[in-house]
Structure formats: structure tokens, C-alpha cells
Subunit: 354 residues, 4 copies
Amino acid sequence: MSTSVHRIEIPTIMEVDSNILENVGSYILRAGIKKVVVFFGDGIRELFGEKILHSINSKSQLSTLETYDYDDIRIENLMPIAFSIPSNAEAIIGVGGGKVLDAAKYIAFLRNLPFISIPTSTSNDGFSSSGCSLIINGRRTSVHAVMPFGIIVDIAVIQNAPMKFIYSGLGDIVSKITAVFDWYYEENNKAARVNDFAAMLAKKSVNSIVRMPYTQVTEEFFLKEMVDSLTMSGIAMQIADNSAPASGSEHLISHALDKILEKPQLHGIQVGIATYLMSLVQQHRYERIEKFLSDTGFFNYVEGLQMRADDFEKAIDLAPTIKPNRYTYLHVEENRIKAKELLRNNEILKRILK
Amino acid sequence: MSTSVHRIEIPTIMEVDSNILENVGSYILRAGIKKVVVFFGDGIRELFGEKILHSINSKSQLSTLETYDYDDIRIENLMPIAFSIPSNAEAIIGVGGGKVLDAAKYIAFLRNLPFISIPTSTSNDGFSSSGCSLIINGRRTSVHAVMPFGIIVDIAVIQNAPMKFIYSGLGDIVSKITAVFDWYYEENNKAARVNDFAAMLAKKSVNSIVRMPYTQVTEEFFLKEMVDSLTMSGIAMQIADNSAPASGSEHLISHALDKILEKPQLHGIQVGIATYLMSLVQQHRYERIEKFLSDTGFFNYVEGLQMRADDFEKAIDLAPTIKPNRYTYLHVEENRIKAKELLRNNEILKRILK
Amino acid sequence: MSTSVHRIEIPTIMEVDSNILENVGSYILRAGIKKVVVFFGDGIRELFGEKILHSINSKSQLSTLETYDYDDIRIENLMPIAFSIPSNAEAIIGVGGGKVLDAAKYIAFLRNLPFISIPTSTSNDGFSSSGCSLIINGRRTSVHAVMPFGIIVDIAVIQNAPMKFIYSGLGDIVSKITAVFDWYYEENNKAARVNDFAAMLAKKSVNSIVRMPYTQVTEEFFLKEMVDSLTMSGIAMQIADNSAPASGSEHLISHALDKILEKPQLHGIQVGIATYLMSLVQQHRYERIEKFLSDTGFFNYVEGLQMRADDFEKAIDLAPTIKPNRYTYLHVEENRIKAKELLRNNEILKRILK
Amino acid sequence: MSTSVHRIEIPTIMEVDSNILENVGSYILRAGIKKVVVFFGDGIRELFGEKILHSINSKSQLSTLETYDYDDIRIENLMPIAFSIPSNAEAIIGVGGGKVLDAAKYIAFLRNLPFISIPTSTSNDGFSSSGCSLIINGRRTSVHAVMPFGIIVDIAVIQNAPMKFIYSGLGDIVSKITAVFDWYYEENNKAARVNDFAAMLAKKSVNSIVRMPYTQVTEEFFLKEMVDSLTMSGIAMQIADNSAPASGSEHLISHALDKILEKPQLHGIQVGIATYLMSLVQQHRYERIEKFLSDTGFFNYVEGLQMRADDFEKAIDLAPTIKPNRYTYLHVEENRIKAKELLRNNEILKRILK
């Protein structure tokens, strides 16, 4: 019935804390899973493989059927692996960065198995969302997969990940401000229907961290908040049944940069800059965003990356064509003009973009 | 299967904004509902009845089958009304404070109809939770009912509600800090299993508001955040399938006061004081709580209520017996002793309690 | 989304076999339940109490918190019991006939606990449906409750129940033929929407038994088929989210008789006769129904009950007023006239009704 | 919770009747779908394309985005098509035999779109089940896909399909008798857990048709019953979350024949013969099966197919290796010996197998 309460899916296992990789086995077993297949991203096994595999295989009732070192997101290569996995597998575990998580998540989807997500860096909300990004017919494509059954994030691991991943995560989080604003803009222009609960979660996810006191971004309490926020962002998309609560015009700029550039920067890095830019165009909460990206050291960090204003200019023009069915601020020409002017005149943008 | 992703229910309609009572009809119709029964709390019809009923009945496809002025939460009186409601009713709407919302919510549950919650004051998270508090066999009892299908909160209305309701809402929100801490304490003592996602939502709900800048508590942006936070708290309970993420030792003190006192204060008023007390016992985030309750004017407000330390002392001793199956800080004697000492020695508590 | 697959609920425990009362404990434990409250219908404890309670309490992990001898379906009396049940109860078990099952089912609904249905006679499909029939404001009323979490039917027990219960069960089963026909009639008259899957289950439930060979109705294989059919009928209603697949004009006549008569006969007895009558009015599969009710001995049995044609005549006129929103054959005057003529002229009806 | 009622998915659209292809558009629209992509099996567009496409495109709000003539079940070929389907598609429709239905069903699964199944022949229960059979790494493989959102079967079309499809459908239906018997056998040997509700549906599905009177198998009423039975069989598998209720030792023989033979016969043809054979091995309801397969003309039909006893003998030996984790009658050597003796000595088998 249209009048039944809306049902959504959330992870059954959710553990976010320091030094918990040795508990992975207990978490899995407690959820009733006994036989798993584990995918490690390149180089990840060396770092965490022993700890994780030991915590699994030291349990008498729990066992690892197969392990892979894998980072390939071309669907034609995923397929044969997905269907070669033993029929008695009860769950797929992915450990590492974005690529292996996307690969393992899609394999879990194809085999109708629960997926357990163990990110070793949290540069975006992919580890907690139902979508994934694969290479299909040679092109990077966002496809539907499955909501993670489990999310296990060891903050001590995130802490020791390269700074670029932390800054990318912060860039992705702050983007919810402009994304949600674009979403309401679409609704006001009859181009979309906002799911208010999803919008609320997305806003809460960013507000709780941008308003939080901290001494340095690598401190445990701050990173835990970041991971929680990225997780809520992933769930907000699931509730909305689309990416709108987490991805607006700022994401379109980043997607456009991915097309334009030989070597794009990390998703969240590009998104963070685009978020500051779009908040100025939207004239919405830009002081807050500026303060957050300055205080955290995000701006200083990206200043060293030699990114070019020309590329952003091209990306702004390309942005609306990425998702022609949407109607964000950048789908309106005057806003694209405004955005390009800001690239030239805004002090911060002038400083961080060459 | 135990390994299926966890499904939860969330409201389909969720609208939180200023001056939206005139849109109630559109929200309902958009959700596919055509025939409704409306319950107003005492005195509420005079204030908002015309606006709401007009917005409903002005729609050609939408109609009001019956309206009630009702504030009685004795189950023996609810029953006959519930089963006298016309069989073609498609939804039950409750408008007003805690009592009418609980009554209407329970009637919706008994008739297996969607419930639409329109609080005119948000002194606690009842408007967004699946539970309700009724008088059964003469005693106030918390019973299971149904998750609201719709939540519609007009911030302009909340703004004009007496300050005691706003302070009560703030007191209920801040209590998530001690409640979640008690929950993890229970888990560490093998007396409960924390649902990490519910705990995260509860923490986000309070963190986003206690860290938020504002000039006065009655400003729209601040109240919207409060309402969103109370809503998330209601949902967190639904995810946990119990009240633990939103209700710990601080709530036990308030429940105990309800038993002890002739005229208890508003739930959230009592809870707010008890939260500050318990945060000192738990030695967890008490500076944050103290700052929040001071800055918002909560402490100054309650100072005028002539509440008595003796009653709190009795309540502390009674607290563990309220929920004997739980294991909060107050279920341990030394913590009860510590709490009672704080009543006598803590400067703020000495000031606000006679 | 309106385009999501339709989700329905089915029992987790379903055991239908001979001499299985001693396994009740194992079935419950296997489903993860540890603490139960048991309701016995009047006189049922003497017959089966020891066997059932022993099978529960002999399990070390499983225990009975409370037991009741209960047959009262007045809601004002159910209420206090429902809310006095210990908070650590994990399931409600009902053992006996229609009344105790309805009472226990409603108590389970009020307490949001799983309900386990153990009928000792299967005179209708109540043991497997989500609805129940209570006395509210002094009148017998059908209310929404909860789908049984478990259905356990010991065929050996059903076998030894008085014949009237078996014939009543057969009468209720055969009624699916006229009920489904009425439902399609309603759809053709734009007064309802048939859920084709529910209709199919209802038809299968009756077809599998009316076409089945047997030597006597009390043989195990035949009774197992009857119980399975009644179970499917209960589930068909749940899928349709209303009683239409299992209850048409023939049920309206029975409901009307309940109002008219001092001492009505068993539901299924009245329904069976009304089904034969209505199949003649509908001119649909009446030979099949006549053969089934003759061969099973149903007609011979009811002939001894001294039921009166006059009462059926009154019931036919009253029938459409019982459910004014429906549009069955009996909602059309010419069919009521036809039906009343048949009471006078049909050989079988003349024989079984005085 | 383990104690929540079990939720299953059933089709939202289910229409089984004669001459209903012209209503396909109305059925789809009524379910809230507006834009569809249609896959026709080879040669199917010529037969039914115009009628179906007209019924869709004649609706102003409904439109066909793309149509394909397609019968390829190699996953590497499905992939690119699946992801080239326009992003505004709201449902995938498959029209034809087993291959196109499997292909379209999998494409719907990959794109997370509802699948509408319009079989033009019903030689097995694939049109109503969530699984499908694809060619992966060159081998025929059963994979998880999605439960059909809609099932539309035009009996007039089924009536005119070649007899082999009807006999294959009957062979697949009767196999539920041996399949369910094998399932209980597995449970008694602690090798499986029977889902009693799934087993009941499977039994009802076959009992309602084997006990049904008819003059010839091509008559509408009989074929409708067959289609309903195959549909229930598909749903029974979905409830059990595996194929056990619909597929036992008799299916293993058929799968083995598929491996052995250059040109296997239709699935249901092989299964029907194997069912008769296994019912003799199980000594369970073989008279009923013999009568049904004789009366319907199944045995006479297969007699003309020149199938060889030697192949069945090889298949019997190979059978247990097809699903090593199961424990059917054929997983026990003495039963394989018994089965092979029957091939040589049973009069009917001697007649129909060369």
C-alpha cells in the first residue's frame, strides 16, 4: 500500500573504533556467518591481512574459503570471479580502498551474498553506500549493487592512512551542504522530490562534524565523527533511493574533472574545492565551509597539488551534461558564469588553483 | 536469514519548517491518503484547527470523516473510540502535545492505520517514536504502538509554545549523551547488546545541536535543529527496537520522580537535570552538557521551578527498580551514593535544586 | 516505490503432523524463543497441558513464565492481562479452539510479541490468519491483530475432536469457491480490485481437497489436507490485506445468522450450507460443491441440527447490510430473491433445513 | 530479530487468463509503471509483438523506450545490453520462452528494475521464479536474479504452443512430489531443514492438478491450473530461499542428461520421466504419478522421442555429483542401483526408453 511506512535497509554489523581489526572474526560470527571469502586491495594484505585472517580463522566455527588480492573494477573481469566463488560461501569481505570495496561489493551483489566493508581509508562514502563505480564498456559507470551488511572501520588504520585520504573524506562530507541545497533547489523548480528524512540525515552528518571542536584532524575522536558522517551520508542515499542527498553540482564538477584530466585528484579533494565554489554561487553557508576547509588544513593541502583553474572552468561548462535529467544550480547558465568569475576573483580559489 | 540486511521503518511524510500547517492537506494527499480522522488536544482546535481542517477539506479528493477534541490516555477510554472510527478511514491525525499524540497514535495502532503526527510543542521525542505512554490499570505505562507514517512540525508553532516546552525538548535531547554512555556500559557488563547504528544516530542527534552556534534558543534555525534531533532520537529507538539509545539512568530518575511527586515537572525538564547529574557520575562530557544547559538558559529556567534535592535523592534510590532488567550506572550502588553526594556538593545542582 | 515487489508475511514455524505436541518445545527453541506465556482454552489443559508444558519445560534453555486457562474474548478483559504479562516474555502461545486463539493472538498483538497458534480443533481458518474476532462494546467485531509466527497442528488431536469441528472446517474451506467468485464479481462491477495471487491461493486451497480421494473424512491424510487448506486460506487473506479471498456472500449469511439466532451453529457449519446455496445462485461449480458436501457426510450431519429455512431467509435479507461497502451477489436484490426461492425449492436445502 | 515473522516477495501483477495480451498495457500502467523496455524471444515478435506493443503504446502515459529480439543467455553478451538501457526505464518486459525470460530477468536484476514475465510457453517454472539459467564461462549455470514483479500468462497462447511445451510443463509440475519427498528425506538425515510452508505450497501446487478432472490437456481450465501450479512452485522456491521444494533427485537426473547428451530434451520432459522413476525408488505415490502421466498422454508422447535407457543409466550415476552438498535418494548407492534396475524391468520405462 502507498500508505505503509517506508522500509529502509541498514547495516547489521557496524563497528567504528580503534584497533578493532582483531575483532573482525567475532563481529562476523555474532552475525551468524560461518564461511567467508576475503578480497584485499593491492598491498593491503601485507599491512592488515595477517591480523584480519587470524581473527577469522582462529574461530573454530568460522573459516576463510578463499582470499584474493584484487583491485580490478572492470565488470568483464569481475564476472568470472563472482561465479567461481564456492557455493557454500556465506559472505564476501572487502578490505582496502575504494576499488576493492567496489569490486567485492559487486561480487556480493551478483552472488546474492551479504557484503562486509572494511575500508582502510575513507576518502568518500562508498564504503557505506549501496552503489558502486565500475568500468563498463570501458567507461567508469555508477551501478546499483547492495547495501553493506557490515561496516567495520578501524580508526587507528584510518589515522595512519596518507593525509590525502583524510582530506578527501572531509571534502566529500562538506559537500552535503551544497548537495542538499541543490536538491531543494530542484524541488522548488519541480525537477525533483526531496525525501525530507534523507535530507535531514545528510545535513546532520555534515553539521555534527563542521561544528565540532578538535585540535588536529588526525585525532581519534575527530576521525570517528568523520567516518560516522560518511556512513550516514551513504545511508541517506539509500533512503532517498538516489544520490541526490549526497551529490549535487559540486559532484558534477568533480565528475567532469575526471573526464577532462589525465590524472584526476582523489574524488573528495576535487569535491571539496567544488563545494566551496558552489557554496559561494548558492550564497549558502560559505563562511562555515571556508572556515572548516581552512581550519582543517584542507586548503593548505590542496594548494600543493598544482590544480588548474582552467580545468575547473572547463568542468563547470561540462557539469550539466553529466546528469542532464537533474536541475542543480549549475544547470542554469548564469550560475555557471558566476562560478567561472569566482574562479578568477575569489582570493582562496586564486590561491589554491593555478 | 540472520544474514539479511536489517530493515527499519521511517516516516514517509516528514516536513519540518515554518508556517506549513496550511500545507498539511497537500502532504497527506501526496502520500495517497484520502479520508482522515483528526484528534486535537485540549484547546488546540481553537489555535490551529481552522487552518489545518481548511487545508484538508479544501482539497476535493481529501476529506475529514470525524474530528475529536481529546486528551485522555486511559486505555479503557481509547478502546471504544478506536473501534467506533468509520471503517473507511485511511489515516489518523494527531495534533497537539504529548497526550493527544499518544492517544491518536495508539488508536491508529489498534486500527492498523497510518498515524500522522503534528506536534504543537516538542517537549520530548514522542512525536517521532513508535512507543507511547498510556494509563493502564491506573498506572502510566510505556507501550508499543506504531512508527508515525507522517511527521509534520511547524517551527513557527513551536516557536510560540511556552518556553517550558522548548527547555523540556532540550533536556530530552541532551540526555542522549548519558543514555548512550549507559548503553555501552551495559554492553561492557554483558547486560545488553548495543546497536551501533542506533547509537550513532543518537549521538549525531545530540552532537549536531550541542555544537551549534545560535543567538537565542527560540530562533528558527535552532528549533529546526532541535526538532530534527528529537526525530532522529525517535528513529534511533526504532532501529534498536528498544528505548536504550534514548533513555538511560537519567530517564530512570525522571520516571522515579513521576512516581514520587504529586505534580511532576515536564519529562524533559526532569531529564535535563538528571542528565547533568549523571554525566558527572559517568565523568563523561559533563563540561559540554554544563555549557549547553547554561548557555541555552535551561539552568536559569529550572532554577525558578522550586524543585527539591530531597526528591531527586529519593528518585536516585528508586531508579534501578524502575527497570530491574537493565544495568545502567545507577544500578550500581556506589554510583547512587556518588550521585547523591553530587546533589549536595555540585554548585549548579545546589543552585537549581532547593 | 510503487514498483517494488509486494512483501507478505508467512509463519516461521509451521508444523502439521500427527503426534507432534511433544515436539512443541523443540519447534519454539529452534526459532530462537526462550521464554513463553501459554494460554489454554477451557478444558484444554486437562487434555494436552501436561504434554505441551513438559515439552517446553524439559528444555533447559526454554521456560514457561505464566500459564492461563482462558476463553474470554471481551477486549476490556484482555487488556489488563495483556499488559500484566512479564516484560521478559518472548512469545505468546495459544492452545485450543477459536476463542482462546483469538484472545492469545490479540494479547500478542498488543504486546508486540510473536504468536504461536496451536489449534485443537480447526473449525475455521482463524488459527492461521492475522485477524481475530473479539467482543467490543458488547458486539462481536473482527479486528486486525497479527499473523501467527508459528502454526502447530497435531493431526491426531484434530482427528479426535468432535465431528462438528471437522464438518465446520470443511464448510469453511469449500466457501472459498463462492467467495472468490464474489470477489471477481465485485471487480467486474468496479467495486474491488482482486489480488490475483491471493485468489489463486484461495482456489488452490479448496481445489486440492475437493478433488482429493479418501475413504473417510477422519483419516489422517485427508485432515492434513484440510488443515493445509485452511492455512493457505488464512495466508490468502493476509496477501489480499482483506478477507475477500476467503469470505463472500456465503459468509455474510453466516454473520447474519449470528445476529439473528439465540444459539448460532459453528461458523463453518452455517458457511457450508450458505456456500452450497450461493453456488446455485452464482451458477458456479455447484455440482462439485454438492458432491463434496454429500460425500463427506456434511449434509447428513447438518440435517440433524434442526436449522430453519426461515432463519436463512431472514439472513439473506440482512446479509448485504453486514458489509455495505462490498458488492457481492447478495448485494443485488434479484439474487436475494433467487436465493430465497432456492431455500424452498432445492431438494437438498429442503431436506437439511426445516 | 530471529522472532520476526518471515517476509517473502510475491508478484504485484499476476494475470492468468485467455486473450489478455491486449491488456498488458493496462496491467503495467495500473502498477504505476510508465516507461518500459521489451525483450522478445526469436520469432515471438512476429506472433505477438504487434498486439503487445499496441496495448502498451496506445496508452498516452505509457511508452516503450526500446525493443529487442533476443535469445542469448551468455552473460558476457547480456552485460553490455543491460548497462546500455536508458536510465529512465522503469521496467523490463520479457516475452517468449525460457531463454528470453532468463535474459530479460537478469538484465532487470542488473539494473535493479522490476521484471515483467510474459511466457508464451510454460515448459517449466522459470517464468515465476527468482532464479535464472545463464551461460557463464561457457557452462550453463543457475544464478540468483529477481522475483518477477509481474507475471502475465495468456492461456490462449499456451494452448497453441507445441504439445512438447505442455508435456514439459506437466513433467515439471509432477516432479514436486518426488522433490518434496527428497527434501523430507534430507531433513530426516540431518542434511537440510525443510521450510514447511514452502513444502506445503509445492504439494498443493501438484495435488490440485493431478487430482483434477479434465477431458484433454489442452483445455483452458486445465492449462490455467497448470500455469497456477508452476507459479506456486516458483514461489515455493522463493520462500525456501533455495530450489529444494521444486527440485530433487529427478531434477539431478535431468541436469545430468543435459551434460551427457548432444541434444537434451526439454527440461520438463526429462524431469517427468525421472519423476516416475524416482517415485518407484522412493515407493511414494507412484500409482498417482503413473496414472497422471498416462492419462495426460505424457508417456505416449515421450515414447516417440527415442530417448535411451543407457543415457538415463549414466545420468543416474552422475546425478549425486551435480549437487554434492545435497542428500537426496540418489545420493545413496543402493537407490542408484535400484533405479538402474527399474530402467530395465519396469514395463512403462522399458516402453518409453529405447
